[in-house]
Symmetry: C2
Subunit: 329 residues, 2 copies
């Protein structure tokens, strides 16, 4: 089936069954902005209202429904993963000096890099507070380990920036760290907190991991094929920051001579070569090749689900695996 | 007694009774550097070997000795507070664009601000892992709350930078957040983890808090009266960064007209006016006034101790309160 035909359901429709609890997570996030300091309240309101997709908290809630769904623990954990995600974005924008995200000026742009560092730290702290409300040292440890994985993955990305001699293994290791680890934390923690047996914990962790890899591959495709309006940030941002994503890697492989990616990374006619790279990716088989790889991971994710008990979450998580591929932003 | 006569004991001598356990904390920190990635190992080795005073982990161990001293929990917690402290320093240096700390080039200087942000995040994560080993959700929550307090305190400092119209209340609120909160976490967590009764938890928390305030006031004095060699960073750094510390505040109060601090903050003849401010603080009663205030907090800390059971920690913690005032760096 063509991926465009498949785009039947929007994320909101897919998540209908957990919408009430997702709204409670949103309430938790909003209540964070009620602090004594006006300036902090303003900054927090700004990031919290940035309207992320909420896939990660949704994954926690969904994974928690296979066994004993403890609402209090689930909301705490879902809030924690969303806060950790938000904190990493605030820091990423400071690192990449990004001016726009989700169609809005970034914290970095408005308040500067210094405030972005500290506000990110504050959000990590609030994430830590939320996760401590799960009362589970195992989940808290997992949460911290994930942050260690994400940040070392990001340092790795920095060190690899502007280098074209990277292998696919490097790429998948990198996105495992920076993206899939948080997806798998989201599902694994939901499973642990619902007292799932270890085999189910592992299956749900694996589902999240594969979904996360697919999500990042699609993100990397969209950076080439989408529009600035849809993305909420300029197309080709990854290239501009020297990040060699899968489509860029394939472009280097397919056209080793006279390659625009190499030129961008060597800072030769940057703008022109970014535009040329985008054009070449769009008008080649590369997009399809990348989607095929992403679909492979979504397929793995779906297979994992089939080994779990049937419940209300399973069809939602299957639909999510489809959504990840067909999403436009 | 004059504070110089009092400088009888060095920190190492004061802490002799807990040195074995402090060494184990150091081993924990060193073991962090054994990671798969060479680059990360190098960066971690660099920060971990930066040879901090280790006052915070010492406070945790000392506070843990009044009731049931559980070595495993104590080492985990002491490691966590030192890691949190290190992480905040790495971020602070990126924020302040500081090139030198403790006589060594900073992570910011060597690897850049981007790496400093991520390495700081990694250290927070490792601190989170360590604190999760205490198995105490209460302590874990306290730990996260402290990080929230520190980072919002630091944002507050940023927003107040280069402003001379600050009150003493502003100053004490700021240093409570950025310094005393971590000192009080160190002692309070040691108390909680040793199953101290709540009154003792509060007394030990209060001791840590007052000690932390005194520590920061002395830090702020030393920034004026010490030497670059002793401090391991340039004298007058606070002024250069626009931070109005207590001595600077008193200088503004005492000499409202033609004041060098105001000129530094207005960026008028910066270097000359920093030198002039240092000179004026050194050759006035300001240093003594500030030391008197710091001593007041140390006195409060000592008084708190007198309400706790007598044990091996009490004399050490009394000596620490003296050391805080008499220390040269």
């Amino acid at each position: 089936m063509d991926r465009k035909e498949k785009r039947a359901l929007e994320l909101g429709e897919i998540l209908t069954s957990i919408q009430d609890d997702l709204d409670k997570v949103k309430d938790n996030l909003t209540s964070l902005t009620r602090v004594d300091f006006d300036w902090l309240s303003e900054q927090l309101g700004y990031v919290v209202k940035s309207d992320g997709k909420g896939i990660r908290p949704a994954l926690t809630l969904l994974a928690g429904k296979f066994y004993r769904y403890n609402l209090g623990y689930m909301l705490a954990m879902a809030t924690a993963v969303e806060l950790m995600h938000t904190a990493t974005l605030v820091h990423d924008d400071a690192i990449d000096k990004s001016n726009v995200r989700r169609g809005k000026a970034t914290i970095y742009k408005i308040w500067g890099g210094e405030t972005a560092i500290l506000l990110g730290d504050y959000l990590f702290a609030k994430a830590g507070e939320a996760v401590s409300d799960t009362q589970s040292p195992r989940v808290i440890k997992l949460f911290s380990q994930t942050l260690a994985t994400i940040s070392s993955g990001e340092i790795n990305q920095l060190l690899g920036a502007f280098k074209t001699d990277q292998t696919r293994e490097d790429y998948f290791q990198r996105i495992s760290g920076k993206t899939a680890s948080l997806f798998s934390l989201s599902t694994e923690s939901g499973a642990i907190l619902s007292e799932a047996p270890e085999t189910s914990v592992n299956l749900l962790k694996e589902y999240g991991f594969n979904l996360g890899i697919a999500f990042q591959v699609v993100d990397d495709i969209l950076d080439f094929v989408s529009t600035e309006q849809t993305l909420g940030k300029p197309v080709g941002s990854d290239l501009a920051q020297g990040t060699l994503t899968l489509p860029a890697m394939l472009l280097v492989e397919h056209y080793p001579q006279d390659n625009p990616i190499k030129k961008v990374f060597q800072n030769i006619d940057r703008e022109k070569n970014i535009a040329r790279a985008i054009d070449m990716v769009r008008n080649s088989s590369i997009t399809d090749e990348c989607y095929k790889i992403a679909s492979g991971y979504c397929h793995k994710a779906r297979q994992t689900l089939s080994q779990l008990p049937e419940n209300s979450s399973r069809p939602v998580m299957e639909a999510l695996a489809d959504f990840i591929i067909t999403r436009a932003k």
